[in-house]
Every structure is written in structure tokens, then in C-alpha cells.
């Protein structure tokens, strides 16, 4: 008999460690030409698809404004909408659970599965379950959990995590997928033909769907008004996971709730168009009840797990609250010059790209993620394409400030605030600001600086590795203007 040693519960997400290694990750991934090629191709494709799906700027802007306001209204009413969602779901026969931490969410799911004697679990795409590292948790409890979204399935086979929130296996090309199948699937007839590869995935996963006891999915919109869980997908695996097994567990963040059923159509339209340029996905699945007594399929039990994991921290600040407007379309990463170059894994977080930079600090703390907000040229592309108009560049700047401010220890402070503060840097800025506020001081210091320009070293650390050192002018602008003879 084998005794399974239970690993100690991690109090910290495994992603905190990988996020801390951001700089090393970037170095490694930038040097990987194949990876850069894969991302480059994919991002160009997704940007073109999105652009083609919005022929009218007027429509796009009206929809963006509308959807921003829908989400802001939902957030302003968030606690009440969550209560309403819960009572409506319960009235419909759906169980509702709440979790503040990722470990609690995992534990709830494990308990539900155990209570139904579940062993074989299929999972539709759910980024929140990546956040909680649910697969690791259930594996450690001897449960088989299989990803069923094709991209997620590939990523799971490769023991990786998604590099993009919409297209999880975007970092792999078909040759790499074929090699992976060859290594892991018995009797795989080697081919790089995409139809054949998908066919192989279909064959294996159908068997799993047929025999699974429990299905797990995410949620795209949870409608408070009717107690309805909406799932957006193209493959049908979300439906397979939510309709075939006897138990369906949906896992989502508390910010996914919307007030009204009529809020859904504009959000759906912007979501699919921003994500993949589709007018609508193949399937849009609205689940309101478990199987009723006269019905022949669908799960007998449906559970919803609502996860906080740092979201309430973002909620507590009006500017940062906008982060929670996100509908996870991925457009910000598709248009991000940094993401396109370093790829999704370098961030080390579950959510990569611009949205990852602004949401991860709430999930992992600013200490683990302090490099992320700085990895941006603030070009503004993310804010321009975001369907719910999250001012991502502004929030990045705000997080930069939070990470270098004096750690006050107040309970309202962001987790890890001040962790990027360097005494030397802080002192320099203090002096700089003092000088700029005092005219005489400013004149004098500029006079000294220009006179001592010869002392400026020609090597300035990383700056001069790829650039020549800046040169100070011999005289300040003030001096030169004063020296000019007034005309006429």
C-alpha cells in the first residue's frame, strides 16, 4: 500500500515565487527565438481579427462607454448584488459557497467532490482555478482532474500553465504540440496536421467526459437578477463539463456579477469581439438551475464558489477598483508591446500582460509583484483597447507609487506597499523635489551642474550599455535666453 504524504498547505500562492523571478524570466524568454516568433504571429493575428470586427468607431465607443458604466454600476452595488445573486441561485436550487483565500476555495471544491465520492473530474477553461492552483490541490488528494479546453489540455500535458488568458497554448506551435502528443499519448500517429491533432484531443477527452463524476468550469457573467451563470466558449467543453457529469462546480471571482439580464448582451458582444474578433462565440450557455425532476440530462447538483483572493483590497480604493471592471478578454495583452516580446510566462503570474500587472499585486502582494508595474513603456495601447475602459496606464503609475511609498503599516495600505522603496533613490528624489520648489536653489544647482559637466562619467550603468551617455549643455536655458538680445 502506498501512503500518500500530504504536502503542507502553502500559505502563499506558488505564483508569488515565479513573479519575484520576473527579471530572470524575461531574460530567458527574450533569448528564445521560437517563443518570440510564436507570440509575434499570434498577437498580429488577434489584433487584426479584433480590428476587423469593429467596423464602426462610433459603435465601438458607444459600446465601450456603455459596458464601462454597466460594470461600474455592478461594482457600486457589488455587495448587494452578491447577496441577490446568492438568494436567487439558492431559490433556483444552486449551492453557493464563499472563499476569501485560494486554499479555502480549493478546500470547498475538494469537499464537494468528496461528498459525492467523486474521483474523475473534467474542467472547462477557468482562469480562477489557475489562480487557486486547483489541479495541484486535487492531485495531491488522489483525484484525477483533466483540463478539457484544447489549449489547457496541451498546457496540462506539458506541465505548464497558460501563457494567455484566452488562448492558453499560444506559446506552442503545432510542431511542439505534435511532439508533446507523441511523448504522452500512447499510439499517437505522428502528425503536425492541426485537424488530426484536435481529433486526437477530442477522442481522448470524449472518453473522459463520458466517465467524469464532476465537472468544473469558470463563469463569464453571473446575473444577480435571475441567478444565472453564463459561459462563453467555442469548443463545447464548457457544456460537456457543465451538462454531462452529475455535479457541476462553477468557480469565479466576486467581481463577475452583473445586475441585470439585459446587461449581458452588450458585454457579450464586446467580450467576444475584443478577444478573438468573433461577433459571438459558438456557444453561449446560460445555466439557471440544476436538473429538474422531469429532465433527462444536466447535473443533479450545481455549486458556485465565489472567491475574493485580494479583490476586496482592490475594491477598497476607488481608482484601483476599476481593475475589477475587467471582463478578461485579453485584448490588453494582445496589443501590449511588452507582452508580445516577453510572452505570457515571463510574468510568473496567472494573469499575464497589462491586466496581470494591475490585478496580481492584489492577489500576490506588491512585494512579490513590484517589478510588474515597472515593466511598461506606458504607451497606452492597453487602455485604448480595453472594452470596459480601465485606465490601465494610470493604474500602473499608481501601483508604482504605492510600491515606493513609505510603508505606514496602516490596515488600509495595499499588501506589500513600500516594498520597492530604496532609501538612496528616495533621498535623491527628495532633494530633487526640494531644489525644484526653491528658485534660488534651482538656479544655483543648475549653474553648478553645467559648470561641472565635465565630471559626468561616460559609463552610467545599464543606461549606457545600449545608449551613449547624455551630455549636459555648457549653459542653462535660463542663462542662454537672458543672454539673447531682445529683437527690434
Amino acid at each position: 500500500m502506498t501512503v500518500k504524504i500530504q504536502e503542507p498547505e502553502q500559505s502563499e500562492s506558488k505564483y508569488a515565487e515565479t513573479a519575484r523571478a520576473f527579471r530572470q524570466n524575461v531574460k530567458k524568454d527574450l533569448a528564445n527565438a521560437e517563443l518570440r516568433e510564436n507570440f509575434h504571429g499570434a498577437m498580429n493575428y488577434l489584433m487584426a481579427k479584433r480590428a476587423a470586427s469593429f467596423p464602426s468607431d462610433d459603435e465601438l465607443e458607444t459600446l465601450r462607454n456603455q459596458c464601462k458604466l454597466i460594470k461600474q454600476r455592478a461594482l457600486l452595488k457589488l455587495p448587494y448584488l452578491l447577496e441577490k445573486l446568492e438568494s436567487n441561485l439558492q431559490a433556483n436550487g444552486i449551492h453557493v459557497h464563499w472563499a476569501e483565500t485560494i486554499t479555502d476555495a480549493n478546500e470547498i471544491i475538494a469537499q464537494v467532490i468528496t461528498s459525492k465520492n467523486g474521483k474523475h473530474i473534467v474542467k472547462g477553461k477557468s482562469m480562477v482555478s489557475e489562480e487557486t492552483a486547483l489541479n495541484d490541490y486535487l492531485h495531491a488528494r488522489d483525484m484525477e482532474i483533466l483540463e478539457s479546453d484544447m489549449g489547457e489540455y496541451i498546457v496540462q500535458l506539458a506541465h505548464e500553465h497558460p501563457s494567455h488568458i484566452i488562448m492558453p497554448a499560444i506559446h506552442q506551435n503545432k510542431k511542439q504540440v505534435a511532439d508533446l502528443f507523441d511523448k504522452h499519448i500512447d499510439g499517437f500517429d505522428y502528425t503536425t496536421d492541426v485537424d488530426a491533432l484536435i481529433g486526437e484531443g477530442r477522442r481522448i477527452l470524449r472518453d473522459k467526459f463520458c466517465h467524469a463524476d464532476v465537472g468544473i468550469t469558470g463563469v463569464n457573467f453571473a446575473v444577480a437578477e435571475t441567478g444565472t451563470l453564463c459561459l462563453v466558449e467555442n469548443e463545447g467543453n464548457g457544456q460537456m463539463s457543465s451538462a454531462v457529469p452529475n455535479v457541476h462546480i462553477a468557480l469565479t471571482g466576486i467581481e463577475k456579477v452583473v445586475e441585470l439580464l439585459e446587461d449581458v448582451p452588450p458585454l457579450l458582444s464586446l467580450l467576444t469581439r475584443s478577444a478573438t474578433g468573433q461577433a459571438i462565440t459558438t456557444y453561449f450557455n446560460m445555466i439557471t438551475k440544476p436538473r429538474q425532476s422531469d429532465e433527462k440530462d444536466g447535473p443533479e447538483e450545481v455549486h458556485l464558489v465565489l472567491l475574493d483572493n485580494g479583490r476586496s483590497q482592490a475594491f477598497a480604493d476607488e481608482e484601483l477598483r476599476q481593475t475589477l471592471q475587467c471582463i478578461r478578454c485579453g485584448a490588453c495583452m494582445n496589443h501590449c508591446p511588452v507582452y508580445t516580446r516577453i510572452g505570457g510566462h515571463a510574468y510568473g503570474t496567472v494573469y499575464p500582460g497589462p491586466i496581470g500587472k494591475i490585478i496580481s499585486p492584489h492577489m500576490l502582494g506588491l512585494e512579490a509583484t513590484k517589478d510588474l508595474p515597472t515593466a511598461s513603456s506606458l504607451c497606452g495601447a492597453c487602455g485604448e483597447v480595453c472594452p470596459v475602459k480601465i485606465p490601465i496606464p494610470k493604474i500602473l503609475q499608481r501601483l508604482r507609487t504605492e510600491s515606493v511609498k513609505v510603508h505606514s503599516g496602516s490596515p488600509d495600505e495595499l499588501k506589500g506597499a513600500g516594498s520597492n522603496r530604496k532609501p538612496m533613490e528616495a533621498t535623491i528624489w527628495k532633494i530633487w523635489s526640494f531644489i525644484h520648489k526653491h528658485q534660488g536653489m534651482y538656479r544655483f544647482s543648475m549653474w553648478v551642474a553645467t559648470r561641472l559637466r565635465g565630471l559626468l562619467p561616460s559609463k552610467l550603468g545599464v543606461w549606457t550599455q545600449v545608449r551613449s551617455a547624455p551630455q549636459l549643455a555648457p549653459k542653462t536655458l535660463h542663462e542662454r535666453i537672458q543672454a539673447r538680445q531682445p529683437r527690434g
Binding site: G41, A42, Y45, D58, E59, T62, L63, Q66, L69, Q72, R73, H97, W98, D104, I108, Q111, D149, G151, A169, I170, Q172, N173, K174, V194, I198, G199, R206, D207, F209, C210, E225, T226, N234, E235, G236, N237, Q239, M240, V244, N246, I254, L261, V264, P265, T276, A279, I280, T281, T282, F284, N285, M286, K289, P290, E295, K296, G298, D308, S312, A316
Partner: protein
């Protein structure tokens, strides 16, 4: 005292809601800015129908215009062309009787109508491995996106449209709506949400491997829409 996880869930509920309420308690909703949706141009029904068909076809569905009388024969012919000999239909579906009658009227047909009359749990093996095609009806259609709205019920379970590799849908032009928003609004879905509603806009597909589109990822590989123009 150690709390069990479901008690902890209650504690988490209180804590989360308190934290959120602390921020927004007493907020004045009347100050919320007015939300303005986009005014889509109203199209004549014929144009809407054309859009509906175009979108579905662009998403690789096969759309066949049929008359109300020959729906069933066309369905049977489509399956014969594919060499399919078994068709699944819901028990009590409006399609079941006329299909059977059409089959009975031509004894040389080899197609067998299979009725979905047991629990999925009791017929999973057959559903997954021995059910080549299914047929179901749609309740509404959406022009803007080329979408079929299925309203699954005891007589037409949702897995009808999911598990068999070929799925035939019977659609009536008179059920067409301009877009999803007007469909929900005009029919007040809020008051009548069933167990499950499905919007289907093509056969199952994926572009997860190198952005290359492949059909039949997990659901049907083929979607055949028999469109009855009952407007004229």
C-alpha cells in the same frame, strides 16, 4: 475550535460582504451616469434573414432553405448523403412524430429514429459512441450574429445538441430577432429563465493550436440548419 469548511464559507461571506459594504454603503445610485446603448439601424426582415444566414455560413454551418412540408424529408436526405443510419430525437419533441411519419411513408429508407427517452446517465455509452446524429428545434433566431437559441426541456434535452457529431436544427424565419438585446427584452426572459438556455452559432470549433481553425473540438463537427421561411 476548528471550523469545517462550510462554516468557514459562512464566515468568509460575512467578512467579504462587510469589507465591500464598508466602501459602498449608502451610495447614491441616482448619481449613476445614464447608460446609452448603440442604436442599430432597423433592417427590413428580408435583410435580417440574409444576415442571419450569412453569419451562420461564415461560421461553417450548413444552411438549407426548406418548405414547411419537406423539412423532414430534407433532414432524412442529408443523413443519407452522409451514410448515417441513426438519428436521435427528443421524446415528445414536436419533430418526433412527423419525422417518424415521413420515415414510415417510405419503407425503403434505412434511417432509424432513436428517441431520447432515458436519463443521460443510463445511455451515456450509446450517446458518446453510437449516436451519429441528432435533431432539435430552435426557439428563436438572432440576425446580428447568426445565432440559434435553444431552450432545452424534458422533450429536447440539452445534450441533444452537444454530443452527436452531426446536429440538425429546424429553424423558423418568423422567430428571427434583430439582436440578443431585443430578444431578451421583447420576450422578458427575466421572468422565465429555464434550467438552461443555449445560444449556438456554428459547429464546435477551436483555434487553440497555432491559431488554426479546426471544427468538431468537443461538440458537433457539423451543424445543419433547416430554415423554413414561414414569413411569406
Amino acid at each position: 475550535m476548528v471550523m469545517d469548511i462550510f462554516e468557514r464559507s459562512q464566515a468568509a461571506r460575512t467578512s467579504i460582504l462587510n469589507k465591500l459594504k464598508q466602501q459602498v454603503e449608502g451610495a447614491d445610485y441616482s448619481k449613476l451616469p445614464a447608460e446609452k446603448g448603440f442604436c442599430y439601424p432597423q433592417l427590413p426582415v428580408a435583410d435580417m434573414l440574409e444576415n442571419f444566414v450569412e453569419h451562420l455560413q461564415a461560421n461553417h454551418a450548413q444552411v438549407i432553405s426548406v418548405s414547411a412540408e419537406n423539412v423532414y424529408q430534407v433532414a432524412i436526405n442529408q443523413l443519407r448523403e452522409r451514410g448515417i443510419e441513426k438519428l436521435l430525437c427528443g421524446k415528445g419533441s414536436v419533430l418526433a412524430e412527423p419525422l417518424q411519419a415521413t420515415l414510415d411513408s417510405a419503407p425503403e429508407q434505412t434511417l432509424k429514429l432513436s428517441i431520447y427517452d432515458s436519463h443521460l446517465a443510463d445511455c451515456k455509452q450509446e450517446m458518446f459512441y453510437d449516436m451519429p446524429a441528432s435533431i432539435s428545434s430552435s426557439r428563436w433566431l438572432i440576425a446580428e450574429t447568426g445565432t440559434l437559441v435553444l431552450w432545452p426541456s424534458a422533450s429536447e434535452p440539452r445534450t441533444l445538441s452537444l454530443i452527436p457529431p452531426v446536429h440538425i436544427v429546424v429553424a423558423y424565419a418568423s422567430t428571427l430577432h434583430a439582436n440578443f438585446a431585443t430578444l431578451i427584452h421583447n420576450n422578458q426572459w427575466q421572468a422565465q429563465m429555464p434550467t438552461n438556455v443555449l445560444l449556438i452559432s456554428g459547429p464546435s470549433k477551436t483555434a487553440d493550436i497555432q491559431q488554426t481553425l479546426a471544427f468538431g473540438a468537443h461538440g458537433p463537427k457539423e451543424l445543419i440548419v433547416l430554415l423554413v421561411n414561414d414569413l411569406i
